[in-house]
């Protein structure tokens, strides 16, 4: 897959702008036409999963580094909010929400940077192995640690604050909160694609030795990419625990870790929007698998979809879309 997304960076075309405006307007009016279930369980859930997957798309698509520890970073932020803030086990320190959230994001970003500093020691598939080992290790750590992380049980009763008379836990406010955070993250990642940092990162992805010879500090760029990805993932992690109201080792286990990889790959690593396409498909399948195939066999279904995508369309649904466009408009190529 490496190199396949090394396409020429083109300017933002008018069609792209039109698409973005259309989708954004749709997302804005969506909660007014959808039921609370569709607003939160499908809408907000897809946005948040997509946000965590976006951090992986950024790392893998721009930097060529497939990290499986992004869920651990998100979980680190979630756990920190739970420990510092208020939770229903009376184990929280009862900090005000803003302080808890800020510190959570700082800690999780540092954690992600540390993971980066460890993983950039090696490259390619070694990164997958090392980050997977870190992710599974963090899961076992959270499960065994009863002193701080409350072991197997984790924490429950986590909710977004009430600010300015608005209860942000209600479906529509929570949806807009998620949408706002996600929109910022998305446009930052899109912007980074053409920034100096993003361009050198993509250069490193395509040929790290040449970039090194040109005088770029390859290691520092790679670690910084992990930092940016960790920042995105930790915001996703905070939203995630507000959505679920709870966090436990199960939320950062191998299942969610693989889910995020599946989402990013199904959507396609070539463009940030792939993360969200994958997330919508994943959430829909997860909720409606019961109509297609027995609900307890959801993993079989999603595994098969994933395998089919990896085997037949390595660039994900985005790749399929592009192929389709090339077929229908052969004259322009």
């Amino acid at each position: 897959m490496r190199g396949s997304n090394a396409q020429v960076i083109r300017g933002t075309s008018q069609a792209d702008v039109l698409w973005h405006v259309l989708v954004f307007v749709f997302l804005l009016v969506y909660p007014w036409i959808a039921s609370p279930f569709w607003t939160v369980q499908i809408g907000a859930q897809s946005l948040i999963l997509g946000m965590i997957a976006l951090s992986l798309t950024f790392l893998a698509g721009y930097g060529g580094m497939v990290s499986l520890a992004q869920v651990s970073v998100a979980g680190c932020a979630g756990y920190t909010v739970a420990v510092l803030g208020v939770n229903s086990f009376n184990m929280g320190l009862g900090w005000p929400w803003l302080a808890a959230v800020i510190l959570a994001i700082v800690i999780a970003t540092l954690f992600g940077t540390l993971i980066g500093a460890i993983s950039v020691q090696t490259t390619g598939i070694y990164t997958i192995m090392i980050t997977l080992a870190i992710a599974v290790g963090f899961y076992y750590f959270a499960r065994q640690n009863y002193n701080i992380l409350n072991g197997w049980n984790g924490f429950a009763g986590l909710k977004p604050p009430v600010i300015g008379g608005v209860n942000w836990r209600d479906p529509v406010p929570f949806y807009y909160l998620s949408l706002a955070v996600v929109a910022v993250a998305y446009f930052v990642v899109v912007y980074l694609r053409r920034s100096t940092f993003g361009l050198s990162l993509q250069g490193i992805r395509d040929n790290d030795r040449r970039m090194q010879a040109l005088g770029f500090n390859v290691r520092a760029h790679r670690i910084l990419a992990y930092t940016v990805a960790a920042l995105i993932a930790s915001f996703g992690g905070v939203l995630m625990i507000w959505l679920n109201g709870r966090i436990s080792p199960g939320s950062i286990g191998i299942g969610p870790t693989i889910d995020i990889l599946v989402i990013a790959v199904i959507g396609g690593l070539g463009h940030p929007v792939g993360a969200f396409i994958g997330a919508v498909l994943f959430t829909l399948l997860e909720n409606f698998a019961i109509d297609l195939i027995a609900s307890e066999r959801f993993n079989l279904l999603i595994g098969a979809v994933f395998l089919a995508i990896v085997l037949f369309s390595p660039d994900g649904l985005l790749g399929l879309w592009q192929k389709l466009r090339q077929w229908t408009a052969p004259a322009t190529h």
Binding site: Q121, A133, I254, I258, R297, L300, L307, L311
Partner: protein, 286 residues
Amino acid sequence: MKLFIMTILNGLTLAALYFLVASGFTLVFGVMRNVNLAHGSLFLLGAYVGFDVAEATGSWVLGAAGGFVAIAILGLLLQVCIFRFMEGQDLRQTLVTIGISIILADVMLAVWGGVTYQFEIPDALYGVTRLPIIKVYTTYRLFILLIAVVIGLALWLFLDKTRVGMMIRAGVDDRDMLAATGVNVHRVFAIVFTIGAGLAGFAGVVGGSALSIAPGEDLRYLLASLVVVIVGGMGSVGGAALGALLIGLAEQFGLAYSPTYGVVYTFIIMVLTLAFRPQGLLGRRA
């Protein structure tokens, strides 16, 4: 003192088990650069199949053989039907193995359910053996140590003294050069994958008899294999032995002396290795 010796013995047993699982993983990686993240699933599937065979025949030995053969065949099929069509695409192969492990885990859950299975081990291995200081130790666990040593020696003889073993070692060092000398690398790959998968299946029966078989064990042994080969050096069977020894002991000492932070020791070893010797203790730079 008793606790100390006991912990060492437990650590050695665990190391033996980890070595059995990780040796196949590291061989496959070394030759094909294929990170088989379905290796844990092969381990668990081997245990289930071995259990059914042992139940049906009433023989533990046949069960172990069944686990080996079934998973070896599955490994061969995977290599011939899927992986040989995506050679050199490391990342894609890895993603495929993740897909396979998701599907296998769900299929195993559907077929064997969420319950825990326990093997009946042969009478000769049942019970305890008398030892100095700690007085008694489970015979079966000593047997695992023996098996690991035997398999380790067999692998070494195979890799070091036979013609195919020579090809495999050459493949680890330089795959393209091996192909250029006229060796049919596809056959070498198929042999390695068959052996590697078979070892995972066999380890499933051996390990499942020492502990138990249940969903989730696949993940545990995948993690063990990953850490063992990262520490020991990827592609090196000797490294797998050394890594298994370190990780097995670290895990048991962590469990015995500081249960809440046991996992941390394993990771300190891994991080230190990566910081000072990224290619692993006995690994060579690719």
